[in-house]
Amino acid sequence: MSEFEQKQRELAEMAALEARLRQELARVEAPAGFAERVMARAAWEPVRMRRPSWVMFAVAAAVLVCAVIGGVRVQQEQRRERANAEFATAMQVTDRAMDRAEEHAREQMQRAGLDINEQDNGSRNGEEQR
C-alpha cells in the first residue's frame, strides 16, 4: 500500500471514528426523579449564601460618598456661622470703641472751649474756599 493510500485510509478511519463518536456520545437522560431530588436539596439549603451583587456595592458606595459629602458640608456651614458670629461681635466691639473715642474727643474739645459745630463749619468753609 502506497503512502498516499495509507493516508487516505487513515483519514477515512478518522472520519468513521468521528461519526461513531457523534452517534455514541449523544446525551443520556438524567436518572428518573433527578429534578425532584435537586429541588428537595435546594429546599433544604440551610442558608442561601448569596453573593453580594454589584448593585449592593454600588448602593453602599453611594451612601458612603453622600455621608462624607454631607459631613463636610455641615462642617463648612458650622464654620461659616461661627465666623459670622465672630465678625458681628467684633463689629459691635469696634462700634462701641468708636463711640467711646468720639465721646472722649468731644469732651476734650469742650474742655478746650472749642465748639464742635463751629469746627465742623470752619473746616467745611475752608474746603469750599479751596
Binding site: L17, F34, V38, M39, A42, R50
Partner: protein, 171 residues
C-alpha cells in the same frame, strides 16, 4: 423556598440531561455523576442572580460541570491515567489477547473513559456537546491550541485502541 424556585426548576428540567451526561462521561459512574450534577445545579441555585441569559446559563453549567466532574474524578482517582499516554504495541498485543473477547460488545463510550482526563473532556465536549475548539477552550479555560492538541491526541488514541479492541470501527 426562596424566590425564583420555579425558574430554577425550569433550568434543572431543561439542562439535566446535558449536565448529567457530561458528568457521567467524565467520571464514568452513574451514582457519582448524579452527585456531581446535583452539586452543579445547587451551585447554580445559590448564585442564580448573577445569570444574564439562557446562553450564559448553558455556558455556566457546562463550565461548572466540567470542573466539578474533574474534581470528583481526582478525589476518587478511580482510573490511573499514567499508562494511558503510553499505549505501546506490546500493550496493544496484550489487550488484543485479554480484552478483545471481553470487549467485543463494548462501545466507544467505554474506550473514552480510558483516555487521560483532559483529552476525555475535550472529546466529550466536541462530540457530545458539538462544541467547536474555541468554545471548548472557553469552557475549560485553556488555550485553543491546547484544546486542539487534546482533541487530536485523544482521537488518535481512541482510534488505536479501537483498532485493537473494536475492529468493526476501522473497517
Amino acid at each position: 423556598m426562596a424566590r425564583g424556585t420555579e425558574e430554577f426548576r425550569r433550568v434543572v428540567e431543561m439542562h439535566q440531561g446535558m449536565v448529567f451526561s457530561m458528568a457521567l462521561r467524565v467520571v464514568g459512574d452513574r451514582g457519582l455523576a448524579e452527585e456531581v450534577a446535583q452539586d452543579v445545579f445547587l451551585e447554580f441555585y445559590r448564585g442564580a442572580e448573577a445569570v444574564e441569559s439562557e446562553e450564559h446559563v448553558r455556558f455556566w453549567l457546562r463550565r461548572v460541570a466540567v470542573h466539578r466532574a474533574t474534581d470528583a474524578l481526582r478525589r476518587r482517582a478511580r482510573r490511573p491515567e499514567s499508562g494511558a499516554e503510553e499505549w505501546s504495541e506490546e500493550m496493544s498485543a496484550a489487550c488484543e489477547q485479554t480484552l478483545a473477547s471481553l470487549m467485543m460488545g463494548a462501545r466507544l463510550e467505554e474506550l473514552l473513559r480510558t483516555l487521560p482526563q483532559a483529552q476525555r473532556v475535550a472529546v466529550m465536549l466536541r462530540y457530545q456537546e458539538d462544541l467547536p475548539p474555541e468554545e471548548i477552550a472557553a469552557v475549560t479555560e485553556q488555550p485553543v491550541a491546547t484544546v486542539k492538541s487534546h482533541l487530536q491526541r485523544g482521537l488518535q488514541l481512541l482510534r488505536r485502541k479501537a483498532a485493537v479492541t473494536l475492529k468493526e470501527y476501522v473497517r
